[in-house]
Protein backbone atom coordinates (compact mmCIF):
# COMPACT_ATOMS: atom_id res chain seq x y z
CA UNK A 1 0.00 0.00 0.00
CA UNK A 2 2.89 2.32 0.81
CA UNK A 3 4.31 1.77 -2.64
CA UNK A 4 0.98 2.40 -4.31
CA UNK A 5 0.44 5.56 -2.31
CA UNK A 6 3.58 7.07 -3.79
CA UNK A 7 2.12 6.82 -7.28
CA UNK A 8 -1.35 8.12 -6.71
CA UNK A 9 -2.93 11.23 -5.40
CA UNK A 10 -5.63 9.52 -3.36
CA UNK A 11 -5.92 6.56 -1.04
CA UNK A 12 -8.82 5.25 -3.08
CA UNK A 13 -6.71 5.01 -6.21
CA UNK A 14 -3.90 3.43 -4.22
CA UNK A 15 -6.35 0.87 -2.87
CA UNK A 16 -7.50 0.09 -6.37
CA UNK A 17 -3.90 -0.39 -7.48
CA UNK A 18 -3.20 -2.69 -4.54
CA UNK A 19 -6.29 -4.77 -5.28
CA UNK A 20 -5.40 -5.05 -8.95
CA UNK A 21 -1.88 -6.02 -7.97
CA UNK A 22 -3.11 -8.77 -5.70
CA UNK A 23 -5.42 -10.03 -8.43
CA UNK A 24 -2.37 -10.29 -10.67
CA UNK A 25 -0.45 -12.03 -7.90
CA UNK A 26 -3.22 -14.58 -7.38
CA UNK A 27 -3.62 -15.10 -11.09
CA UNK A 28 0.08 -15.52 -11.83
CA UNK A 29 1.44 -16.97 -8.62
CA UNK A 30 2.85 -19.85 -10.67
CA UNK A 31 5.21 -17.42 -12.38
CA UNK A 32 6.90 -16.51 -9.14
CA UNK A 33 10.35 -17.96 -8.94
CA UNK A 34 12.19 -18.07 -5.69
CA UNK A 35 15.17 -16.28 -7.20
CA UNK A 36 13.93 -12.99 -5.80
CA UNK A 37 12.18 -12.18 -2.57
CA UNK A 38 8.42 -12.25 -2.63
CA UNK A 39 8.36 -8.69 -1.33
CA UNK A 40 10.47 -7.53 -4.26
CA UNK A 41 8.26 -9.42 -6.74
CA UNK A 42 5.13 -7.97 -5.21
CA UNK A 43 6.60 -4.50 -5.21
CA UNK A 44 7.47 -4.76 -8.88
CA UNK A 45 3.92 -5.85 -9.64
CA UNK A 46 2.54 -2.90 -7.69
CA UNK A 47 4.82 -0.49 -9.54
CA UNK A 48 3.85 -1.96 -12.92
CA UNK A 49 0.19 -1.80 -11.99
CA UNK A 50 0.63 1.82 -10.97
CA UNK A 51 2.26 2.51 -14.31
CA UNK A 52 -0.64 0.82 -16.08
CA UNK A 53 -2.97 2.98 -14.05
CA UNK A 54 -0.99 6.05 -15.05
CA UNK A 55 -1.15 5.08 -18.73
CA UNK A 56 -4.90 4.68 -18.51
CA UNK A 57 -5.39 8.03 -16.86
CA UNK A 58 -2.58 9.93 -18.55
CA UNK A 59 -4.87 11.13 -21.34
CA UNK A 60 -6.70 13.22 -18.79
CA UNK A 61 -3.56 14.78 -17.41
CA UNK A 62 -2.34 18.15 -18.62
CA UNK A 63 0.82 18.03 -20.69
CA UNK A 64 3.71 19.70 -18.91
CA UNK A 65 6.17 21.73 -20.83
CA UNK A 66 9.51 20.63 -19.42
CA UNK A 67 11.14 23.86 -20.54
CA UNK A 68 8.48 25.99 -19.01
CA UNK A 69 9.25 28.50 -16.32
CA UNK A 70 9.47 27.15 -12.84
CA UNK A 71 8.95 29.04 -9.66
CA UNK A 72 11.60 30.25 -7.41
CA UNK A 73 14.14 27.58 -6.65
CA UNK A 74 14.46 26.73 -3.05
CA UNK A 75 17.21 25.21 -1.03
CA UNK A 76 16.12 23.26 1.98
CA UNK A 77 18.23 22.67 4.96
CA UNK A 78 19.38 19.18 5.78
CA UNK A 79 17.99 19.63 9.29
CA UNK A 80 14.58 20.40 7.99
CA UNK A 81 14.68 17.42 5.63
CA UNK A 82 15.47 14.98 8.39
CA UNK A 83 12.32 16.00 10.22
CA UNK A 84 10.05 14.94 7.38
CA UNK A 85 7.87 11.95 8.18
CA UNK A 86 6.54 9.43 5.67
CA UNK A 87 3.10 11.07 5.70
CA UNK A 88 4.69 14.47 5.09
CA UNK A 89 6.63 13.08 2.18
CA UNK A 90 3.55 11.44 0.68
CA UNK A 91 1.66 14.71 1.03
CA UNK A 92 4.45 16.59 -0.67
CA UNK A 93 4.71 14.02 -3.44
CA UNK A 94 0.99 14.31 -4.01
CA UNK A 95 1.41 17.99 -4.70
CA UNK A 96 3.74 17.28 -7.58
CA UNK A 97 2.35 16.92 -11.09
CA UNK A 98 1.79 13.23 -11.82
CA UNK A 99 4.55 13.02 -14.41
CA UNK A 100 7.09 14.58 -12.04
CA UNK A 101 5.98 12.32 -9.23
CA UNK A 102 6.29 9.21 -11.38
CA UNK A 103 9.74 10.06 -12.69
CA UNK A 104 10.95 10.95 -9.22
CA UNK A 105 9.62 7.72 -7.73
CA UNK A 106 10.90 5.52 -10.50
CA UNK A 107 14.34 7.07 -10.56
CA UNK A 108 15.04 7.90 -6.95
CA UNK A 109 13.18 5.14 -5.14
CA UNK A 110 12.80 2.21 -7.54
CA UNK A 111 16.18 2.76 -9.15
CA UNK A 112 15.06 2.79 -12.79
CA UNK A 113 17.35 4.39 -15.35
CA UNK A 114 16.18 7.30 -17.48
CA UNK A 115 16.06 5.00 -20.49
CA UNK A 116 13.76 2.60 -18.69
CA UNK A 117 11.57 5.43 -17.44
CA UNK A 118 11.35 6.89 -20.92
CA UNK A 119 10.32 3.52 -22.29
CA UNK A 120 7.74 2.89 -19.57
CA UNK A 121 6.13 6.30 -19.74
CA UNK A 122 6.50 6.92 -23.44
CA UNK A 123 8.76 9.93 -22.98
CA UNK A 124 12.05 10.93 -24.41
CA UNK A 125 15.10 10.36 -22.23
CA UNK A 126 15.76 14.06 -22.07
CA UNK A 127 12.19 14.70 -20.92
CA UNK A 128 12.69 12.17 -18.17
CA UNK A 129 15.83 13.95 -17.03
CA UNK A 130 14.13 17.32 -17.10
CA UNK A 131 11.12 15.99 -15.21
CA UNK A 132 13.40 14.64 -12.53
CA UNK A 133 15.22 17.94 -12.12
CA UNK A 134 11.93 19.82 -12.01
CA UNK A 135 10.48 17.35 -9.53
CA UNK A 136 13.43 17.82 -7.20
CA UNK A 137 13.26 21.58 -7.50
CA UNK A 138 9.55 21.66 -6.82
CA UNK A 139 9.93 19.23 -3.97
CA UNK A 140 12.61 21.39 -2.33
CA UNK A 141 10.35 24.38 -2.61
CA UNK A 142 7.44 22.44 -1.19
CA UNK A 143 9.55 21.21 1.71
CA UNK A 144 10.59 24.72 2.58
CA UNK A 145 7.03 25.93 2.27
CA UNK A 146 5.84 23.05 4.40
CA UNK A 147 8.20 23.92 7.25
CA UNK A 148 7.42 27.59 6.93
CA UNK A 149 3.78 26.74 7.59
CA UNK A 150 4.69 24.42 10.46
CA UNK A 151 6.81 27.13 12.08
CA UNK A 152 4.04 29.67 11.70
CA UNK A 153 1.57 27.33 13.38
CA UNK A 154 3.99 26.61 16.23
CA UNK A 155 4.64 30.35 16.75
CA UNK A 156 0.94 31.03 17.16
Amino acid sequence: MGTALRYTASRQEAMSIVNDSFLKVFGHISRYTFETTFKGWLRRIVVNTALDHYRRTSRELPVIDPDGPEGQLAESDANIISQLTAEDILNLLNQLPPQYRLVFNLYEIEGYSHEEIAQQLGLSVSSSRVYLVRAKEQLSRLVKHHFHQVNERSCR
Binding site: V18, L90, E108
Partner: protein, 437 residues
Amino acid sequence: MKDPVDKTLADHIRQTLDDYQTPYMLGAWEQFDQQRRASKQRLMGWYRYAVAACLLGGMLVVPLWLADGPLPTVSSSDLVDAHRSANPMMNEEATARSQSTRVDAPISTKEPKTTLLMPERTKRTQLAEWSSSRVRLPDSDGNIGRLSAPLHTSPEPNPPPNPPITDLPNPNHIDINRLPIRSVEPITGLSLLTPVWPPVTPATPTPVTQIEQATASTLPIDRTRRRQVTWSVALAPQSTYAQNSSPSVGIGGGVFSEIALNRRMSVATGLSLASQALNVRAPADMPIPLSGKQLATTGVQLLAFDVPVNLKYRFGKLNKPLFHLSAGLSSLAFLRENYAETYQIQQMVPVIVSGSDGQPRPGWRNETINETEFRSADAFSSIYWGRLLNIAVGVERPLSQRLLFSVEPYLKYPLGSLTQQNLRLGSAGVSLRVVIR
Protein backbone atom coordinates in the same frame (compact mmCIF):
# COMPACT_ATOMS: atom_id res chain seq x y z
CA MET B 1 24.85 24.00 -2.76
CA LYS B 2 21.66 22.76 -4.36
CA ASP B 3 22.87 19.29 -5.42
CA PRO B 4 23.87 18.09 -1.93
CA VAL B 5 20.51 19.28 -0.61
CA ASP B 6 18.67 17.41 -3.35
CA LYS B 7 20.70 14.31 -2.66
CA THR B 8 19.94 14.54 1.05
CA LEU B 9 16.26 15.00 0.31
CA ALA B 10 16.15 12.09 -2.11
CA ASP B 11 18.04 9.81 0.28
CA HIS B 12 15.74 10.72 3.12
CA ILE B 13 12.63 10.14 1.04
CA ARG B 14 13.95 6.78 -0.17
CA GLN B 15 14.84 5.64 3.31
CA THR B 16 11.62 6.85 4.88
CA LEU B 17 9.31 5.41 2.26
CA ASP B 18 11.15 2.10 2.08
CA ASP B 19 10.32 1.47 5.71
CA TYR B 20 6.85 2.94 5.50
CA GLN B 21 3.91 0.64 6.04
CA THR B 22 0.37 1.78 6.16
CA PRO B 23 -1.89 0.40 8.86
CA TYR B 24 -4.38 -2.20 7.73
CA MET B 25 -7.55 -0.61 6.46
CA LEU B 26 -10.71 -2.12 7.81
CA GLY B 27 -12.76 -3.73 5.09
CA ALA B 28 -9.86 -3.76 2.65
CA TRP B 29 -9.84 -7.53 2.38
CA GLU B 30 -13.60 -7.68 1.92
CA GLN B 31 -13.36 -5.10 -0.83
CA PHE B 32 -10.59 -7.05 -2.50
CA ASP B 33 -12.51 -10.31 -2.18
CA GLN B 34 -15.57 -8.72 -3.72
CA GLN B 35 -13.47 -7.41 -6.60
CA ARG B 36 -11.88 -10.83 -7.05
CA ARG B 37 -15.26 -12.58 -7.17
CA ALA B 38 -16.64 -10.03 -9.59
CA SER B 39 -13.66 -10.49 -11.85
CA LYS B 40 -13.98 -14.27 -11.70
CA GLN B 41 -17.71 -14.15 -12.33
CA ARG B 42 -17.17 -11.82 -15.24
CA LEU B 43 -14.74 -14.29 -16.75
CA MET B 44 -16.96 -17.26 -16.04
CA GLY B 45 -19.95 -15.43 -17.44
CA TRP B 46 -18.17 -14.78 -20.69
CA TYR B 47 -16.98 -18.36 -20.79
CA ARG B 48 -20.47 -19.72 -20.26
CA TYR B 49 -22.02 -17.48 -22.84
CA ALA B 50 -19.24 -18.36 -25.27
CA VAL B 51 -19.93 -22.06 -24.74
CA ALA B 52 -23.64 -21.47 -25.26
CA ALA B 53 -22.97 -19.47 -28.41
CA CYS B 54 -20.73 -22.24 -29.74
CA LEU B 55 -23.43 -24.80 -29.03
CA LEU B 56 -26.01 -22.67 -30.73
CA GLY B 57 -23.77 -22.04 -33.71
CA GLY B 58 -22.92 -25.71 -33.96
CA MET B 59 -26.54 -26.73 -33.83
CA LEU B 60 -27.46 -24.33 -36.58
CA VAL B 61 -24.44 -24.69 -38.81
CA VAL B 62 -24.30 -28.45 -39.02
CA PRO B 63 -27.73 -28.84 -40.63
CA LEU B 64 -27.01 -25.88 -42.89
CA TRP B 65 -23.77 -27.45 -43.92
CA LEU B 66 -25.52 -30.70 -44.64
CA ALA B 67 -28.15 -28.91 -46.62
CA ASP B 68 -26.03 -26.54 -48.65
CA GLY B 69 -22.55 -27.84 -48.23
CA PRO B 70 -19.91 -27.43 -50.88
CA LEU B 71 -20.25 -29.84 -53.70
CA PRO B 72 -17.37 -32.24 -54.06
CA THR B 73 -15.67 -32.09 -57.39
CA VAL B 74 -16.56 -34.83 -59.79
CA SER B 75 -14.23 -34.56 -62.72
CA SER B 76 -14.76 -35.96 -66.12
CA SER B 77 -11.84 -38.26 -65.51
CA ASP B 78 -13.76 -39.79 -62.64
CA LEU B 79 -16.55 -40.63 -64.99
CA VAL B 80 -14.22 -42.02 -67.57
CA ASP B 81 -12.47 -44.11 -65.00
CA ALA B 82 -15.75 -45.43 -63.81
CA HIS B 83 -16.78 -46.45 -67.27
CA ARG B 84 -13.43 -47.91 -67.97
CA SER B 85 -13.40 -50.03 -64.91
CA ALA B 86 -16.75 -51.46 -65.86
CA ASN B 87 -15.85 -52.15 -69.43
CA PRO B 88 -12.56 -53.83 -70.08
CA MET B 89 -12.86 -52.95 -73.71
CA MET B 90 -12.72 -49.34 -72.78
CA ASN B 91 -9.28 -49.86 -71.39
CA GLU B 92 -8.20 -51.32 -74.62
CA GLU B 93 -9.71 -48.47 -76.49
CA ALA B 94 -8.31 -45.82 -74.30
CA THR B 95 -5.48 -44.90 -76.53
CA ALA B 96 -7.50 -45.17 -79.66
CA ARG B 97 -10.16 -43.07 -78.09
CA SER B 98 -7.93 -40.10 -77.77
CA GLN B 99 -7.27 -40.12 -81.47
CA SER B 100 -10.88 -40.93 -82.28
CA THR B 101 -9.81 -43.81 -84.52
CA ARG B 102 -12.09 -46.70 -85.06
CA VAL B 103 -10.40 -49.82 -86.10
CA ASP B 104 -12.59 -52.74 -85.57
CA ALA B 105 -16.10 -51.94 -86.42
CA PRO B 106 -17.19 -50.45 -89.68
CA ILE B 107 -19.31 -47.48 -89.18
CA SER B 108 -22.11 -46.54 -91.39
CA THR B 109 -22.16 -43.08 -92.77
CA LYS B 110 -25.67 -42.85 -91.54
CA GLU B 111 -24.64 -43.51 -88.10
CA PRO B 112 -25.90 -40.94 -85.70
CA LYS B 113 -22.99 -38.95 -84.47
CA THR B 114 -24.58 -38.35 -81.21
CA THR B 115 -22.11 -37.28 -78.72
CA LEU B 116 -23.05 -37.35 -75.15
CA LEU B 117 -21.53 -34.12 -74.25
CA MET B 118 -23.10 -31.92 -71.71
CA PRO B 119 -22.95 -28.24 -72.40
CA GLU B 120 -20.75 -26.02 -70.37
CA ARG B 121 -22.55 -25.34 -67.14
CA THR B 122 -21.86 -25.26 -63.56
CA LYS B 123 -21.23 -28.57 -61.98
CA ARG B 124 -24.06 -28.02 -59.63
CA THR B 125 -26.54 -27.69 -62.46
CA GLN B 126 -25.09 -30.63 -64.28
CA LEU B 127 -25.21 -32.82 -61.27
CA ALA B 128 -28.72 -31.76 -60.46
CA GLU B 129 -29.83 -32.70 -63.92
CA TRP B 130 -27.81 -35.82 -63.81
CA SER B 131 -29.44 -36.96 -60.66
CA SER B 132 -32.94 -35.77 -61.38
CA SER B 133 -33.89 -36.67 -64.89
CA ARG B 134 -31.48 -38.63 -66.96
CA VAL B 135 -29.87 -41.17 -64.83
CA ARG B 136 -31.23 -42.97 -61.93
CA LEU B 137 -28.43 -43.05 -59.48
CA PRO B 138 -27.71 -45.87 -57.14
CA ASP B 139 -30.22 -45.93 -54.37
CA SER B 140 -29.43 -46.83 -50.82
CA ASP B 141 -29.40 -50.51 -51.71
CA GLY B 142 -26.98 -49.98 -54.52
CA ASN B 143 -29.52 -50.66 -57.27
CA ILE B 144 -28.94 -48.75 -60.39
CA GLY B 145 -31.47 -47.49 -62.80
CA ARG B 146 -30.94 -47.35 -66.46
CA LEU B 147 -30.08 -44.67 -68.89
CA SER B 148 -33.37 -43.78 -70.44
CA ALA B 149 -32.09 -41.49 -73.13
CA PRO B 150 -28.91 -39.81 -74.19
CA LEU B 151 -28.03 -37.06 -71.85
CA HIS B 152 -27.62 -34.26 -74.30
CA THR B 153 -26.76 -33.69 -77.82
CA SER B 154 -23.46 -32.17 -78.61
CA PRO B 155 -23.07 -28.45 -78.86
CA GLU B 156 -22.20 -28.78 -82.52
CA PRO B 157 -24.18 -26.50 -84.77
CA ASN B 158 -27.22 -28.25 -86.17
CA PRO B 159 -26.44 -31.57 -84.63
CA PRO B 160 -28.03 -34.54 -86.27
CA PRO B 161 -31.10 -35.74 -84.47
CA ASN B 162 -30.79 -38.69 -82.24
CA PRO B 163 -31.69 -41.87 -83.93
CA PRO B 164 -35.08 -43.18 -83.09
CA ILE B 165 -34.90 -45.98 -80.69
CA THR B 166 -36.23 -48.31 -83.29
CA ASP B 167 -33.17 -47.68 -85.42
CA LEU B 168 -30.83 -48.77 -82.79
CA PRO B 169 -29.41 -52.20 -83.12
CA ASN B 170 -30.41 -54.94 -80.87
CA PRO B 171 -27.66 -54.96 -78.33
CA ASN B 172 -28.02 -58.67 -78.08
CA HIS B 173 -26.47 -58.79 -81.49
CA ILE B 174 -23.64 -56.48 -80.72
CA ASP B 175 -20.27 -57.75 -79.88
CA ILE B 176 -19.76 -55.40 -77.06
CA ASN B 177 -16.04 -55.95 -77.00
CA ARG B 178 -15.76 -54.59 -80.47
CA LEU B 179 -17.50 -51.38 -79.84
CA PRO B 180 -15.22 -48.43 -80.36
CA ILE B 181 -15.32 -45.60 -77.99
CA ARG B 182 -15.05 -42.03 -78.92
CA SER B 183 -15.12 -38.89 -77.07
CA VAL B 184 -15.68 -35.43 -78.27
CA GLU B 185 -13.14 -32.79 -77.61
CA PRO B 186 -12.93 -30.70 -75.63
CA ILE B 187 -13.80 -32.77 -72.65
CA THR B 188 -15.41 -30.29 -70.43
CA GLY B 189 -17.55 -30.78 -67.43
CA LEU B 190 -19.28 -34.08 -67.49
CA SER B 191 -18.62 -35.24 -70.99
CA LEU B 192 -19.38 -38.84 -71.44
CA LEU B 193 -18.13 -41.55 -73.59
CA THR B 194 -20.55 -43.12 -75.92
CA PRO B 195 -20.32 -46.18 -78.03
CA VAL B 196 -20.50 -45.61 -81.73
CA TRP B 197 -23.14 -47.83 -83.11
CA PRO B 198 -22.37 -50.31 -85.85
CA PRO B 199 -24.36 -50.14 -89.09
CA VAL B 200 -27.99 -49.83 -88.39
CA THR B 201 -30.00 -52.88 -88.96
CA PRO B 202 -33.67 -53.01 -88.33
CA ALA B 203 -34.36 -54.52 -85.05
CA THR B 204 -36.96 -54.60 -82.44
CA PRO B 205 -36.61 -51.81 -79.96
CA THR B 206 -34.91 -53.30 -77.05
CA PRO B 207 -33.52 -51.29 -74.24
CA VAL B 208 -29.86 -51.32 -74.14
CA THR B 209 -29.90 -52.81 -70.76
CA GLN B 210 -26.78 -54.81 -71.10
CA ILE B 211 -24.60 -51.87 -71.76
CA GLU B 212 -26.36 -49.77 -69.27
CA GLN B 213 -26.12 -52.24 -66.50
CA ALA B 214 -22.49 -52.78 -67.16
CA THR B 215 -21.78 -49.11 -67.06
CA ALA B 216 -24.43 -47.89 -64.72
CA SER B 217 -23.45 -50.20 -61.96
CA THR B 218 -20.23 -48.35 -61.75
CA LEU B 219 -21.51 -44.90 -62.46
CA PRO B 220 -20.02 -42.51 -59.99
CA ILE B 221 -22.11 -42.37 -56.93
CA ASP B 222 -23.55 -38.94 -56.54
CA ARG B 223 -21.61 -37.74 -53.62
CA THR B 224 -23.42 -34.47 -53.82
CA ARG B 225 -26.66 -36.06 -52.84
CA ARG B 226 -27.69 -34.14 -49.81
CA ARG B 227 -29.60 -35.22 -46.83
CA GLN B 228 -33.01 -33.70 -46.49
CA VAL B 229 -33.14 -31.21 -43.69
CA THR B 230 -36.31 -29.79 -42.31
CA TRP B 231 -36.78 -27.00 -39.85
CA SER B 232 -39.50 -26.58 -37.36
CA VAL B 233 -40.75 -24.13 -34.78
CA ALA B 234 -42.47 -25.55 -31.73
CA LEU B 235 -44.52 -24.32 -28.84
CA ALA B 236 -45.01 -26.70 -25.99
CA PRO B 237 -47.38 -26.27 -23.06
CA GLN B 238 -46.03 -28.56 -20.43
CA SER B 239 -46.31 -29.75 -16.91
CA THR B 240 -43.22 -29.86 -14.77
CA TYR B 241 -42.77 -32.13 -11.83
CA ALA B 242 -40.13 -33.12 -9.34
CA GLN B 243 -40.00 -35.33 -6.30
CA ASN B 244 -42.29 -34.02 -3.55
CA SER B 245 -43.81 -31.43 -5.80
CA SER B 246 -47.20 -31.05 -7.31
CA PRO B 247 -47.18 -30.68 -11.09
CA SER B 248 -47.24 -27.14 -12.34
CA VAL B 249 -47.90 -25.70 -15.75
CA GLY B 250 -45.17 -24.11 -17.82
CA ILE B 251 -44.52 -23.18 -21.39
CA GLY B 252 -41.67 -23.90 -23.71
CA GLY B 253 -40.70 -23.48 -27.29
CA GLY B 254 -37.81 -23.61 -29.64
CA VAL B 255 -36.34 -24.11 -33.05
CA PHE B 256 -35.51 -27.57 -34.27
CA SER B 257 -33.93 -29.18 -37.27
CA GLU B 258 -34.31 -32.67 -38.54
CA ILE B 259 -31.84 -34.46 -40.72
CA ALA B 260 -33.22 -37.40 -42.65
CA LEU B 261 -31.13 -40.53 -42.47
CA ASN B 262 -33.44 -42.43 -44.78
CA ARG B 263 -37.12 -42.36 -45.65
CA ARG B 264 -38.18 -43.32 -42.18
CA MET B 265 -35.38 -42.48 -39.82
CA SER B 266 -34.11 -39.04 -38.97
CA VAL B 267 -32.10 -37.26 -36.35
CA ALA B 268 -33.80 -34.33 -34.73
CA THR B 269 -32.06 -31.69 -32.73
CA GLY B 270 -32.55 -28.08 -31.82
CA LEU B 271 -32.75 -25.55 -29.06
CA SER B 272 -35.61 -24.94 -26.76
CA LEU B 273 -36.35 -22.72 -23.83
CA ALA B 274 -38.85 -23.61 -21.18
CA SER B 275 -40.10 -21.52 -18.32
CA GLN B 276 -40.88 -23.73 -15.36
CA ALA B 277 -42.12 -23.02 -11.89
CA LEU B 278 -42.90 -25.46 -9.14
CA ASN B 279 -43.21 -25.74 -5.44
CA VAL B 280 -41.24 -28.49 -3.75
CA ARG B 281 -42.10 -29.68 -0.28
CA ALA B 282 -39.35 -30.70 2.05
CA PRO B 283 -39.24 -34.45 2.68
CA ALA B 284 -41.37 -35.50 5.61
CA ASP B 285 -38.60 -37.55 7.13
CA MET B 286 -36.22 -34.62 7.18
CA PRO B 287 -34.69 -34.35 10.67
CA ILE B 288 -35.48 -31.22 12.63
CA PRO B 289 -32.31 -29.21 13.07
CA LEU B 290 -31.25 -28.08 16.53
CA SER B 291 -31.73 -24.48 15.55
CA GLY B 292 -35.41 -25.21 15.12
CA LYS B 293 -35.27 -23.71 11.61
CA GLN B 294 -36.71 -26.30 9.29
CA LEU B 295 -37.12 -26.07 5.55
CA ALA B 296 -40.76 -26.38 4.63
CA THR B 297 -41.09 -25.62 0.94
CA THR B 298 -38.97 -24.36 -1.88
CA GLY B 299 -40.43 -22.32 -4.68
CA VAL B 300 -38.42 -22.91 -7.81
CA GLN B 301 -38.45 -20.74 -10.91
CA LEU B 302 -36.41 -21.97 -13.81
CA LEU B 303 -35.66 -20.99 -17.36
CA ALA B 304 -34.25 -24.11 -18.93
CA PHE B 305 -32.14 -24.16 -22.06
CA ASP B 306 -32.58 -27.58 -23.62
CA VAL B 307 -30.65 -29.18 -26.46
CA PRO B 308 -32.27 -32.48 -27.42
CA VAL B 309 -30.83 -35.04 -29.77
CA ASN B 310 -33.50 -37.52 -30.76
CA LEU B 311 -33.85 -40.33 -33.21
CA LYS B 312 -37.17 -40.25 -34.98
CA TYR B 313 -38.81 -43.17 -36.72
CA ARG B 314 -41.81 -42.73 -38.97
CA PHE B 315 -44.22 -45.51 -39.52
CA GLY B 316 -47.28 -45.87 -41.64
CA LYS B 317 -47.64 -45.14 -45.32
CA LEU B 318 -45.47 -42.34 -46.49
CA ASN B 319 -48.21 -40.58 -48.43
CA LYS B 320 -50.59 -40.49 -45.51
CA PRO B 321 -50.45 -38.71 -42.20
CA LEU B 322 -47.48 -40.16 -40.50
CA PHE B 323 -47.13 -41.25 -36.98
CA HIS B 324 -43.70 -41.08 -35.55
CA LEU B 325 -41.91 -42.19 -32.47
CA SER B 326 -38.86 -40.38 -31.24
CA ALA B 327 -36.48 -40.99 -28.41
CA GLY B 328 -33.23 -39.47 -27.33
CA LEU B 329 -31.40 -37.48 -24.74
CA SER B 330 -31.44 -33.85 -23.78
CA SER B 331 -28.62 -31.79 -22.40
CA LEU B 332 -29.64 -28.72 -20.56
CA ALA B 333 -28.52 -25.72 -18.62
CA PHE B 334 -30.45 -23.10 -16.77
CA LEU B 335 -30.52 -19.48 -17.72
CA ARG B 336 -32.43 -18.56 -14.63
CA GLU B 337 -32.57 -20.44 -11.35
CA ASN B 338 -34.39 -18.73 -8.53
CA TYR B 339 -35.28 -20.33 -5.25
CA ALA B 340 -37.51 -19.09 -2.47
CA GLU B 341 -36.92 -21.30 0.54
CA THR B 342 -39.53 -21.07 3.21
CA TYR B 343 -38.38 -22.13 6.65
CA GLN B 344 -40.52 -22.79 9.65
CA ILE B 345 -39.00 -21.61 12.87
CA GLN B 346 -40.29 -22.83 16.21
CA GLN B 347 -40.12 -20.10 18.80
CA MET B 348 -41.19 -19.86 22.42
CA VAL B 349 -43.15 -16.65 22.80
CA PRO B 350 -43.88 -15.17 26.25
CA VAL B 351 -47.58 -14.92 26.94
CA ILE B 352 -49.77 -14.10 29.88
CA VAL B 353 -51.95 -16.98 30.91
CA SER B 354 -54.44 -17.21 33.67
CA GLY B 355 -53.41 -19.52 36.41
CA SER B 356 -55.52 -22.04 38.27
CA ASP B 357 -56.37 -19.35 40.77
CA GLY B 358 -57.61 -17.08 38.01
CA GLN B 359 -54.68 -14.74 38.37
CA PRO B 360 -52.70 -13.85 35.23
CA ARG B 361 -49.32 -15.49 35.15
CA PRO B 362 -46.48 -15.27 32.68
CA GLY B 363 -45.99 -18.30 30.50
CA TRP B 364 -44.59 -19.47 27.18
CA ARG B 365 -46.25 -20.57 24.06
CA ASN B 366 -44.71 -22.38 21.11
CA GLU B 367 -45.22 -20.51 17.86
CA THR B 368 -44.26 -21.31 14.32
CA ILE B 369 -42.93 -18.48 12.24
CA ASN B 370 -42.39 -18.67 8.50
CA GLU B 371 -39.25 -17.12 7.10
CA THR B 372 -38.41 -16.99 3.42
CA GLU B 373 -34.93 -16.78 2.00
CA PHE B 374 -34.28 -16.05 -1.65
CA ARG B 375 -31.40 -17.51 -3.54
CA SER B 376 -30.43 -17.65 -7.18
CA ALA B 377 -27.77 -19.33 -9.26
CA ASP B 378 -25.80 -17.89 -12.14
CA ALA B 379 -26.82 -18.57 -15.69
CA PHE B 380 -25.11 -21.64 -17.13
CA SER B 381 -23.57 -22.37 -13.75
CA SER B 382 -23.81 -26.05 -14.63
CA ILE B 383 -24.40 -27.92 -17.83
CA TYR B 384 -26.17 -31.23 -17.47
CA TRP B 385 -25.13 -33.41 -20.36
CA GLY B 386 -27.63 -36.03 -21.49
CA ARG B 387 -29.53 -35.83 -18.23
CA LEU B 388 -33.05 -36.11 -19.66
CA LEU B 389 -34.54 -39.00 -21.55
CA ASN B 390 -36.96 -37.83 -24.23
CA ILE B 391 -39.78 -40.00 -25.45
CA ALA B 392 -42.41 -38.70 -27.82
CA VAL B 393 -45.11 -39.94 -30.13
CA GLY B 394 -46.52 -37.67 -32.76
CA VAL B 395 -48.60 -37.27 -35.82
CA GLU B 396 -48.03 -34.99 -38.78
CA ARG B 397 -50.56 -33.46 -41.11
CA PRO B 398 -49.64 -31.44 -44.17
CA LEU B 399 -50.78 -27.84 -44.12
CA SER B 400 -49.46 -26.93 -47.53
CA GLN B 401 -46.86 -28.13 -49.93
CA ARG B 402 -44.07 -26.92 -47.72
CA LEU B 403 -45.63 -26.88 -44.29
CA LEU B 404 -46.54 -29.65 -41.93
CA PHE B 405 -48.27 -29.44 -38.62
CA SER B 406 -47.20 -31.86 -35.99
CA VAL B 407 -48.71 -32.67 -32.63
CA GLU B 408 -46.35 -34.50 -30.38
CA PRO B 409 -47.08 -35.54 -26.81
CA TYR B 410 -43.78 -36.02 -25.05
CA LEU B 411 -42.21 -36.97 -21.79
CA LYS B 412 -38.85 -35.86 -20.45
CA TYR B 413 -37.74 -38.22 -17.78
CA PRO B 414 -34.80 -37.22 -15.55
CA LEU B 415 -31.88 -39.62 -15.57
CA GLY B 416 -30.18 -37.78 -12.75
CA SER B 417 -30.47 -34.79 -10.52
CA LEU B 418 -30.72 -31.33 -11.99
CA THR B 419 -30.48 -27.76 -10.71
CA GLN B 420 -28.48 -26.46 -7.78
CA GLN B 421 -30.93 -28.15 -5.46
CA ASN B 422 -30.42 -31.54 -7.09
CA LEU B 423 -34.04 -31.90 -8.11
CA ARG B 424 -35.08 -34.79 -10.28
CA LEU B 425 -36.93 -32.54 -12.61
CA GLY B 426 -39.06 -33.95 -15.38
CA SER B 427 -41.72 -32.62 -17.64
CA ALA B 428 -44.46 -33.77 -19.92
CA GLY B 429 -46.45 -31.86 -22.45
CA VAL B 430 -47.59 -31.53 -26.00
CA SER B 431 -45.34 -30.05 -28.59
CA LEU B 432 -47.22 -28.19 -31.31
CA ARG B 433 -44.89 -27.88 -34.20
CA VAL B 434 -44.87 -26.32 -37.62
CA VAL B 435 -42.43 -28.07 -39.90
CA ILE B 436 -40.98 -26.26 -42.88
CA ARG B 437 -39.89 -28.60 -45.62
